[in-house]
Symmetry: D2
Subunit: 348 residues, 4 copies
Amino acid sequence: SISHHYRPISSAPPSATQAQHEALCPPQSILIVNKLRTEPVIQAIDELLGHVKKTYPGVKVFSEDRPDIPDGAEVWRPGPQAEKIDLVVTLGGDGTILHAASLFSLGAVPPVLSFSMGTLGFLLPFHIDDFVKGLEAVFHGKATILDRMRLSCTYYDKEGRKVGADGNEWQVMNEIALHRGSSPHLNTIDIFVDGQHLTEAVSDGVIVSTPTGSTAYSLSAGGPIVHPSLSAVVLVPICPRSLSFRPLVFPSSSSVTLRIGDRSRAAAGVSMDGRVSHVLNPGDSVTVQASPYPVPCINRSSISEDETERQGEGVGPGKEDDWVRDINNLLQYNATFRSKALLRYSRT
Amino acid sequence: SISHHYRPISSAPPSATQAQHEALCPPQSILIVNKLRTEPVIQAIDELLGHVKKTYPGVKVFSEDRPDIPDGAEVWRPGPQAEKIDLVVTLGGDGTILHAASLFSLGAVPPVLSFSMGTLGFLLPFHIDDFVKGLEAVFHGKATILDRMRLSCTYYDKEGRKVGADGNEWQVMNEIALHRGSSPHLNTIDIFVDGQHLTEAVSDGVIVSTPTGSTAYSLSAGGPIVHPSLSAVVLVPICPRSLSFRPLVFPSSSSVTLRIGDRSRAAAGVSMDGRVSHVLNPGDSVTVQASPYPVPCINRSSISEDETERQGEGVGPGKEDDWVRDINNLLQYNATFRSKALLRYSRT
Amino acid sequence: SISHHYRPISSAPPSATQAQHEALCPPQSILIVNKLRTEPVIQAIDELLGHVKKTYPGVKVFSEDRPDIPDGAEVWRPGPQAEKIDLVVTLGGDGTILHAASLFSLGAVPPVLSFSMGTLGFLLPFHIDDFVKGLEAVFHGKATILDRMRLSCTYYDKEGRKVGADGNEWQVMNEIALHRGSSPHLNTIDIFVDGQHLTEAVSDGVIVSTPTGSTAYSLSAGGPIVHPSLSAVVLVPICPRSLSFRPLVFPSSSSVTLRIGDRSRAAAGVSMDGRVSHVLNPGDSVTVQASPYPVPCINRSSISEDETERQGEGVGPGKEDDWVRDINNLLQYNATFRSKALLRYSRT
Amino acid sequence: SISHHYRPISSAPPSATQAQHEALCPPQSILIVNKLRTEPVIQAIDELLGHVKKTYPGVKVFSEDRPDIPDGAEVWRPGPQAEKIDLVVTLGGDGTILHAASLFSLGAVPPVLSFSMGTLGFLLPFHIDDFVKGLEAVFHGKATILDRMRLSCTYYDKEGRKVGADGNEWQVMNEIALHRGSSPHLNTIDIFVDGQHLTEAVSDGVIVSTPTGSTAYSLSAGGPIVHPSLSAVVLVPICPRSLSFRPLVFPSSSSVTLRIGDRSRAAAGVSMDGRVSHVLNPGDSVTVQASPYPVPCINRSSISEDETERQGEGVGPGKEDDWVRDINNLLQYNATFRSKALLRYSRT
Ligand SMILES: NC(=O)C1=CN([C@@H]2O[C@H](COP(=O)(O)OP(=O)(O)OC[C@H]3O[C@@H](n4cnc5c(N)ncnc54)[C@H](O)[C@@H]3O)[C@@H](O)[C@H]2O)C=CC1
Ligand SMILES: NC(=O)C1=CN([C@@H]2O[C@H](COP(=O)(O)OP(=O)(O)OC[C@H]3O[C@@H](n4cnc5c(N)ncnc54)[C@H](O)[C@@H]3O)[C@@H](O)[C@H]2O)C=CC1
Ligand SMILES: NC(=O)C1=CN([C@@H]2O[C@H](COP(=O)(O)OP(=O)(O)OC[C@H]3O[C@@H](n4cnc5c(N)ncnc54)[C@H](O)[C@@H]3O)[C@@H](O)[C@H]2O)C=CC1
Ligand SMILES: NC(=O)C1=CN([C@@H]2O[C@H](COP(=O)(O)OP(=O)(O)OC[C@H]3O[C@@H](n4cnc5c(N)ncnc54)[C@H](O)[C@@H]3O)[C@@H](O)[C@H]2O)C=CC1
């Protein structure tokens, strides 16, 4: 089973999610998620579908309800009555995973196996060419999982009344960002931590991010890089009119409330994982808390490589960490001036 | 008992430390720690000692072995044979607590009650004028505790041999900092996380910090502010010759190894909580890991204020958090230009 | 004359502007600029007008064309046919000066005497209570001036055609900022310096700022503080998706072109000194260059204080610099943790 | 002549330096400077010397006084009696130019032609393989020059007495850096600008840098990148114990004084261009000002390329700027995450 190899790096007690994964194995149903319908994506889906039908007969394959659902797939609609999904497969960029996660905003998210179409991303452990190996790892119980924390966002109006139906909370995998948008004026946002007033931010906006999101918008705004297995919440201002507003990292048990100041000259537009959603007017607020439903992401290391090879990179067995590789590879983290230069500029 | 009110904010399982605190209540022995011997400190110690003798008869009071130990106190020497201490009382600045913690480098640290002498610090919940209330809270089991994580540091030579006797590990409460010191040349330090190579830092040095230390040297070097109840490790470079070396936050389960590059032009001086200790030459390394022995610090909120009063500040009972107040008060965190200006510059 | 005491701190050859100021002395015409019409502002204008009529008879006083122009003032309309103004007096915040400067977008700006109404700002040397002294300094030729550089912005469409009539250039005193506004997507902006491609910025936006503007939006986005007497252009990205995009400072002789990338997913809204103006679509561009017309701002030090008093602050005569005082006072620049804390938090 | 093509990008009046360069053309004497005596360097010097003797007969070639001066070179000693040098040729890294400049600390520096030995640097326009072309440009009067500003440093003791003989000032091309070195304690440094107190820095140290030095230590400490043709002084703190100490940029007419606070717990070691020199004790100070003697560095663009080729890069004739290319090439300035990743990590 998936959970067989489940090695929580997280410090949070893994029991709940572990149990859940156990039940899923081997998957009886797969949801394929893609945002783009370009030729390579269509073709890849067709191949993947063919492979599943042949290799894992009896497994149901679903697709979101769109005009052009792939041959052999059934329509799947999110919501309380949704068909049970045991595995999500995404094809596309980081945004595709964010979208996939958003389909499961009411409860647990099935394990997610993510393939890139060439452009690489932080949330994309596998290249599409490796789809056979990736599925095999899952179906043979060799997959290891990283539970990526989500944040749930609850909105309140000026009078403190919850906005929207109960249980209808928004879940984000990267971040919730408040921003003045195209208003010429600065936002005034009061920030509370566990009900206690922390500070008043006069700024373009404020980001509350997960560790996963720490390499997304939060990083651009000056935030630290936080390992995705840490249970934490990152608070970063966007262009604050203050020299001393540093990024803050809280335990995931904290609840953070952002309230638009009564005399704020601008309303704040809200983006959740990059999707524009609410507008908060002076007095309105949003409370952000760790969600009980993380996104279980299947690690690249599930495709076992030759033990020796891995040790060659200086990593003992069972210690490989996609994230360290990502930071190192994708960001060219900390390449010094000199060595970069030599790469591109040397004569010969 | 102290543990009665122990409310772990930390996400780490609190059982171990909780049990320990339970055993201590009410304290049978107190160790008084002070670095300075200025007149106000001497006087405060005398008053405190007198108060303890009168109010809590039978409680033993200890002092470090120095020429001028206070009247009525017995000498205490750290080490495996040390007398058991149930409560540490510090008088002085942040450095005094760092020193007190360093006296218990081999195992558990008793709860620490810290008084400032006027200058305030991040680790100083109480003003010396409140010592009666502070002791009362402890002896009446009303004290709440924040377990401040420590890091243990193990040194290795070029051949990978442990340096120093077994079990002889260094524990830091703030940080371990490697720095080129007065060498004109940059350090080259290879950084490994859980044995995996993360990056090569060419810089003045590197800091590995606890959340407690995140408001100390790490902050000056550009690091984020991390809540002390989070179990995490912060890695921050000092003046890196790279534009892209951002601060990193790891789960406390990670082990970080810093190894001086074989061709590093400078050796690295090591400071632990500000005390200069080792020099690491090319090939030498140090491995840093969460220590099993945190420092249990008694919170300011142990001196119970009127419930209503506290709620007036917008905090529900049992939710008050010294840290939020500290960030807000001590750092004047994020005071905007305008409001600061008005404080100091307004005419009238 | 004003120019008598004109001591250019600027490294730029001051001849042109000096000649101009010479001609203005003593002022024959004053333009009063205010944005707000609150009671204190109206009252202050009335007093000021009365004082001018009485003390400097024959001097014409103008006001912008608004429903409620003050008694005794004539209407003034900007443009090529505008009445000649020898002195601008502003009452209000920093934004009022920005607005005043924008009224003279076609050519030279008259010297500007700026009064704050209580809230202080970077561009506000005088408190309204000092208006008698301020005017006296100007009329008696004791005023010293800081020429604050402006940037002129020329817009081009995809085909490289200039947008707007010739000579119709925009002048900014703080900055021009491009921003994705409320678009969910990142901007791609190609940056050219003197026609040479510098970099492609993938970000929320880009700021090109004057030294004056370096304490405004640019500072919030992470830019350095640049002395307003330096002739320089500051380039700062807003939330760039790159770890290595540092603020850049160019000589004022440089021309900076920002061109929206052809495949940029977002258009860029343009703000000039905080006023929303253009929208730039993929292919459109704006070229920014030092304007020949700075804003001559009358210094606080024009109100001569007792020589001894000033020396008490450690400044030799003729060396006093409003800016150093501003940085120090308004920003509480670099107040250390400890001392701040003591200000607000000490017991007693 | 060199000055024929001299196109000052600087805003400072170029007349003085221009006149000087005029006099040098064509060079009658060359000083060869190298720090390392590795095989490739020795060989390159021999080739260069042979080429000069053959192609430019009558030109004297000098070398610093070292045990192993190259065949055909005469010994040169710095100082008031030094032989007149018309051209300096350096072989090595950035440090070699810093060293060459330091040999001319008393007055004007001859034009510097700098060759790298393979590793590239910011101050190294030419690869050693191009030495024939480089010399030709100089001898045929086609060289263009960038005058790189220097800072002169004057030291004072506690009593305000100048330290060292008159005229014996230190000149730096990159920066002067004060640092606590291996002292465990923070420095307290009072900073004055033009005699006015700006702030008290409690930090590891302070850097005062030229625009040239803005890509060296200052950049590592968080400073902006300043174009070397700007006449400016950059002030950057090193690890300040303050959230609000931003980098500052002053006009080159400013004088900056750094004075060790009387109660500073640490002395400050001084490094000038990386060379450790003085120790400043509490009360001691150093005053830093633009030097009248910049370092005239011969530009890469002196080796004229095909006009068309250059235009292909989008730069009009006479507008090519080594610096923009450097920022772009050497720093891989602002490469976004994605594109970097694709360079190194793409499959295929
Ligand atoms: N200035 C900035 O950096 C901004 C960033 N964003 C980010 O974009 C995200 C939405 O992504 P898309 O739907 O793909 O929109 P998009 O197509 O506009 O892409 C934004 C970029 O962020 C990357 N990204 C997304 N999540 C990431 C993560 N966890 N770690 C590292 N990189 C990540 C994507 O690969 C893409 O390069 C938002 O959640 C937000 O974090 C959104 C607006 C501005
Ligand atoms: N450039 C910098 O910021 C440097 C900072 N330090 C810090 O000093 C610490 C040692 O402190 P002391 O023995 O008192 O030496 P110290 O007397 O030199 O004080 C250093 C300052 O750091 C403050 N500090 C200490 N721990 C803190 C914490 N956890 N949060 C906020 N502020 C804190 C102290 O109150 C004091 O203001 C080291 O652990 C290191 O973190 C040490 C060297 C340089
Ligand atoms: N996130 C941010 O920091 C933003 C800043 N702004 C700034 O606001 C300016 C427009 O100002 P207002 O019309 O007063 O709008 P506003 O009333 O929205 O004020 C913005 C703030 O910037 C201050 N400010 C303006 N110019 C300044 C300067 N040169 N140095 C220091 N502070 C300065 C003002 O005093 C005010 O506190 C723009 O030019 C832009 O620089 C605009 C949008 C966002
Ligand atoms: N943490 C840091 O970044 C430190 C930097 N330095 C810098 O090193 C300089 C001395 O250089 P070396 O004698 O070569 O010593 P070094 O061999 O230790 O080299 C320091 C590095 O700085 C580079 N460098 C020097 N000047 C530069 C400039 N103007 N722009 C960009 N990069 C530059 C060199 O190429 C080399 O990579 C000092 O002036 C100081 O700026 C010195 C100490 C610490």
